[in-house]
Symmetry: C2
Subunit: 695 residues, 2 copies
């Protein structure tokens, strides 16, 4: 596990560790321990891969004086100076010794390209643990094991034994992947899109350097403009979340997280079983400003798009859609609408300007369909881009025989004349489109090869701009009124006092230690009342017969108290007599400490059905009010909040405030593992927490 | 509108129309009316496009004796014999006259490639209406207007003015599209995947020939093995549905239906507002055996996959997953699981066989991860294919330097040695993979270029096989016990009698014309009872105070009857006294006559929330029992049926039977527009319809 968050580490440790991360990924000297002259060995392939590296190359092998023309050292110590990057091409069993030596010599970092570690069984796992302990005790950085290594194109460095790397194209998209296969696959896809990679890093078993570390390095890498990340799991979610929030305002990050069907730790907690762990991960990544995708192709495409066309932060950027073919326009609009991307109706003045440029009867209010891309196509594009509601324009046109205007000629001109982003797409036979596509890509434009790919590019640009806007929103402050720190198990009354302390209203009630007190309480409260058992012994009050509703007279109260007295208890018997809340829509809101992400907040509407269909929204806590509103919006059942079938419109502001407040609790009260309001009833004005549970 | 379903047409008409459809799409002679020697005119481009057509080419132009070396006729009549296909390259305003002449001459069909019809305003729409009337009055078939035409590659015929058609590749995938741009785009995508098209047909405004007609032609076209269809709407849903059910058992059909965000007619009906019209269309297409996709790229890829690797019908085909890279295996498994594709654990014997072929500690139970594709890769593949649970194997491998086994060498061999389908995928730089990809495609295999594309191929094969299995299931017979035909508005009692006639249980009840009868009814029924107003005047009984629950004594009954008597009514006052049903999970089931698809059936769980979140399943009626079970399975809230949180398991068989029965009602009783059971309560044994509404 990486240790930058380890409180035992000193600041200078942290600085050293970051310096060594840079030494590892952008080294001036590289040593190969286990260099070999046998072509089938990784110790040979690693030398071969270093061809063209302008820095110093040092080969270490105690059994050879020279390999492939290089002088060979018997050990790292014999080199006589600290090497920046050591590539370990020795068997797992000798790695601990080799890494110890590298640490002693003051080397920056190492890369283990041999297998035989945790992925191969208990013996390998034991070696891996030893390596981890070594790294934790020093500022030496280690990449791997179980990785094919990394490539830093701008440093002309291929620290890898993977084949085919000669086909990698240099550019400014960085790739970080858990799996080495996916690392190179995505890098090649970036190249196939006419772009290229700055670095491609496979983190493998990640005993020291994980995706978060790689992200921290790439954030400061001048050759990187966008980062594509592939993850198979997120064991240290909060660390990744915090890093992303720091990085994404400066460089776009796209994440593909595999494991839709996985049910992780989060799902095991009580409130947590409302939500699949995959949803939590997705939401956390987006909340931290990353764009998420669901395939390796989309990962590459999104990163390329953002490296070339990123928009400034905006709550709802507006997209213009210009198409030479109506059918493609309908498809793109469908995708954009499904993804909630704004395609605003153009201003009257813009429409008037366009109507003078295209044949009559075409649709020109946005999308703008020119029927076919004629001579006025560039002017139509300029007109759309000039509309003040438009932040970016996507343009689709199939190749046309004798087309009056070739996209590769006019698009760069229009692009230079407007500050708005313009993204182009076409489609057809390889032979029919290749020249246009290549020419535009050479001029630094992303070019989509289908209407859907173009629509996805717009969706990515929109999601990124919106995410940046959200990341910039301050977390809403929550005032805690004086409240006893919670410790151990607490009962409903204490839980509700905590809620009141953070401004969440609860029904008027009296905690009673005797039947006499209960009767007095009944007399003092508005009728009807509810009488409940008040005890930390009872988990599910209703099932235990511990809740009696609708009590309007003392006879009924006594019957209820009789029933509560019949519940067997070890501790002293207490009652909660409470004014009964008016009917209303019910929600569940819970704050849960996730093993990976720390404090999280979840909200759902309704009882049994909401749970059964997992209709919930989750966020990493704390959150902003805007985020709380968004959580309500994304519930499938959110129409119920808007006055469904004649019921009153729910007070969304009060709901959002309650969610923000509950989200702040776990940070404020470290003793609380989980707090849940179920139900939280919402009215036309205000909310009321009817029951609360703290664990 | 096409008229094959017109009862006024004679059988010979239908035969003629089908013959003329074939004459149009596979003609021996083609005439161009409006042939021109001006290169900028479509009448010129159409001649140019006919180059290479082996049949007779006839040019018609009253103002030229010769065009481009062809003898020119002044009129179709002057040709002296009926032409199979007439291409009309004349202005909209002269089209009616030109088509009339073609009909008189006994021509087979025509294609209007000029614009200026319904899409261009009221004048064009009037012309289009005249053309429609002409077609309805004859067996002449018309394609267009507002289309760029069609291509029949096996007939060496390009009946189109579209540019770039020289890049089309011949093959056995047919494309049918509403939009001409999308028609050619998808055709090129098919070519880019190493396959080719048989026919590519743009139906445009479809005043006579629509996608359904094209489908009927292609079903009998020997050169077509799979059909890709693009639709922007489905005005005659039942006709398409019936055609698909006939075609899909013989040829796979893939459909891309645009308009996710559209809310159509179906959404306006009462029960219908539970479901978006897009969902209805998707479900109808799948129910008819089509595979549905959501992008033009996937449309092309799915059609190519099915043209090469179709599986036999099966309820749940099993897929083997073989991968040379673990990361790709995880991604593919994720996709397959999300799509409910079966990836069965391999038999013990298979696992034993494989364990002798791969390094230790790799995962080999399915997916099988060989760590890298070594020399034994082909044997591992054969072992997986030999497992009796496996119907098809997907194989992914990145290119490897000096790979012991090249996919293009061993895959065709393994494929020939097994009856199971094998689909391959790889990925990487264009330069790194092109040779392998092209070699395998040349041998008739689909080759995916990413793990996700390979997973999607498997999903398509699975969905097609499952859909074929379902289409083969007989619609379940429903016996109607003697029941009065429903006419006009009916009350709850009559509606429930209809339900009983089809075997759906309702609570014991008595319809009462007086308070005296109500009291007698109360005495005869089990207590408690419900007393309701019985009148067709009251739409929402509960809101009107017309429902009184939990009546246990006569005093309560009298209070209830007093309240019912206070409801103002024009007709004679009647009561429904009914035994109160035990508590249970509630569903809503409705049969609705959709404007496009005819009788449909919809089911949802729960009340308000189910409606708010649109958690419903829909099918075209009538249906099989298997289909009814599947409807229940696909509800997000279906866990509620399985004994959620200690409640009893619901009687799914009884529910499915009730759904099948209600689905049969609209066909049996043509007077009924809509019948809804809300709620249908389900128990551990049996169901009970608590309220019913007929419109």
């Amino acid at each position: 596990m990486p240790n930058s968050a380890d409180p035992a580490r000193t600041t200078s440790d942290t600085v050293d560790r970051h310096t060594n991360l840079k030494r590892l990924f952008a080294p001036r000297s590289v040593a190969i321990v286990g260099a070999s002259s046998s072509p089938e060995k990784v110790g040979y392939q690693a030398i071969h891969a270093l061809e063209g590296f302008p820095g110093e190359i040092i080969l270490v092998n105690p059994r050879a004086a020279e390999i492939l023309g290089y002088k060979t050292y018997p050990s790292l110590a014999a080199v006589g100076k600290p090497v920046d990057l050591v590539i370990f091409a020795v068997p797992a069993t000798t790695c601990v010794e080799a890494v110890s030596e590298a640490i002693k010599c003051g080397c920056g970092g190492g890369l283990i390209i041999s297998g035989g570690f945790a992925e191969s069984g208990p013996e390998g796992a034991a070696i891996q643990d030893q390596l981890k302990t070594l790294c934790e005790g020093s500022s030496f950085r280690l990449l791997g094991p179980n990785t094919a290594g990394f490539v830093n194109m701008h440093a002309s460095l291929t620290a890898s034994f993977a084949s085919g790397t000669e086909h990698l194209r240099a550019g400014n998209v960085a790739v970080v992947a858990q799996s080495s296969g996916i690392n190179f696959l995505v890098s090649y896809f970036v190249g196939n899109l006419g772009s290229g990679v700055s670095c491609a890093i496979g983190v493998g078993n990640a005993i020291d350097i994980d995706a978060t570390d790689a992200l921290e390095f790439l954030a400061q890498d001048a050759g990187t403009r966008a980062i594509a990340v592939h993850l198979e799991g997120i064991p240290q979610g909060r660390r990744l979340y915090d890093a992303l929030r720091r990085v994404t305002p400066h460089k776009p990050v796209v994440v593909l997280i595999v494991g839709r069907e996985d049910i992780g730790e989060f799902a095991k907690s009580h409130t947590g079983n409302l939500v699949g762990s995959y949803d939590l991960k997705l939401n956390a990544l987006r909340q931290a400003g990353a764009v998420t995708v669901s395939s390796t192709e989309d990962l590459a495409a999104a990163a390329v798009v953002l490296s070339l066309h990123r928009l400034p932060p905006k709550r709802q950027p507006g997209f213009g859609v210009l198409t030479g073919q109506g059918g493609a326009g309908i498809i793109m609009l469908d995708w954009l609408k499904s993804a909630d991307v704004s395609v605003p109706t153009l201003r009257e003045a813009t429409v008037t300007r366009i109507s003078g440029l295209v044949p009559p009867m075409t649709y020109i209010k946005n999308p703008v369909d020119t029927a076919r891309p004629g001579a006025t196509f560039p002017d139509v594009l300029s007109a759309i881009a000039a509309d003040d509601q438009i932040d970016a324009v996507i343009v689709f046109a199939l190749p046309e025989r004798g087309g009056a205007v070739q996209p590769e000629h006019f698009l760069p001109l229009v692009r230079r004349a407007t500050p708005k982003e313009i993204v182009f797409g076409t489609g057809g036979s390889e032979a029919g489109i290749r020249a246009t596509v290549d020419a535009l890509r050479a001029q630094g434009m992303f070019v989509a090869e289908s209407p859907e790919q173009l629509a996805r590019a717009a969706i990515v640009l929109s999601e990124d701009a919106v995410a940046q806007w959200k990341v910039a929103q301050p977390v809403s402050a929550v005032t805690f009124r004086a409240v006893a720190k919670v410790s151990g198990n607490v009962d409903e009354h204490a839980a509700k006092q905590l809620l009141e302390a953070i401004g969440i209203a609860t029904p008027k009630r009296v905690a009673c230690a005797s039947r006499k007190e209960a009767v007095a309480a009944f007399r003092s409260l508005d009728k009807p009342v509810v009488a409940k058992i008040l005890s930390t012994e009872i988990g599910h009050k209703t099932e235990a017969g511990g809740v009696h509703l609708n009590i309007s007279d003392e006879a009924a109260l006594n019957r209820a108290l009789d029933a509560l007295d019949a519940i067997p208890l070890k501790s002293a018997r207490r009652y909660l007599v409470e004014a009964m809340a008016p009917a209303g829509l019910e929600l569940i809101v819970g704050a849960v400490r996730d093993a990976s992400f720390g404090p999280t907040i979840v909200v759902g509407i309704g009882g049994t059905i909401a749970e059964a269909i997992k209709d919930t929204a989750t966020r990493i806590a704390p959150i902003s009010l805007a985020e709380a509103h968004e959580m309500l919006d994304e519930l499938r059942a959110s129409p119920l909040l808007d006055g469904w079938r004649g019921s009153p419109k729910a007070d969304r502001d009060a709901l959002a405030k309650a969610i923000v407040s509950l989200a702040a609790v776990l940070d404020h009260q470290p003793e609380i593992g989980e707090i849940e309001i179920n139900p939280l009833r919402v009215y036309a004005r205000g909310v009321l927490a009817l029951d609360a549970l703290i664990a």
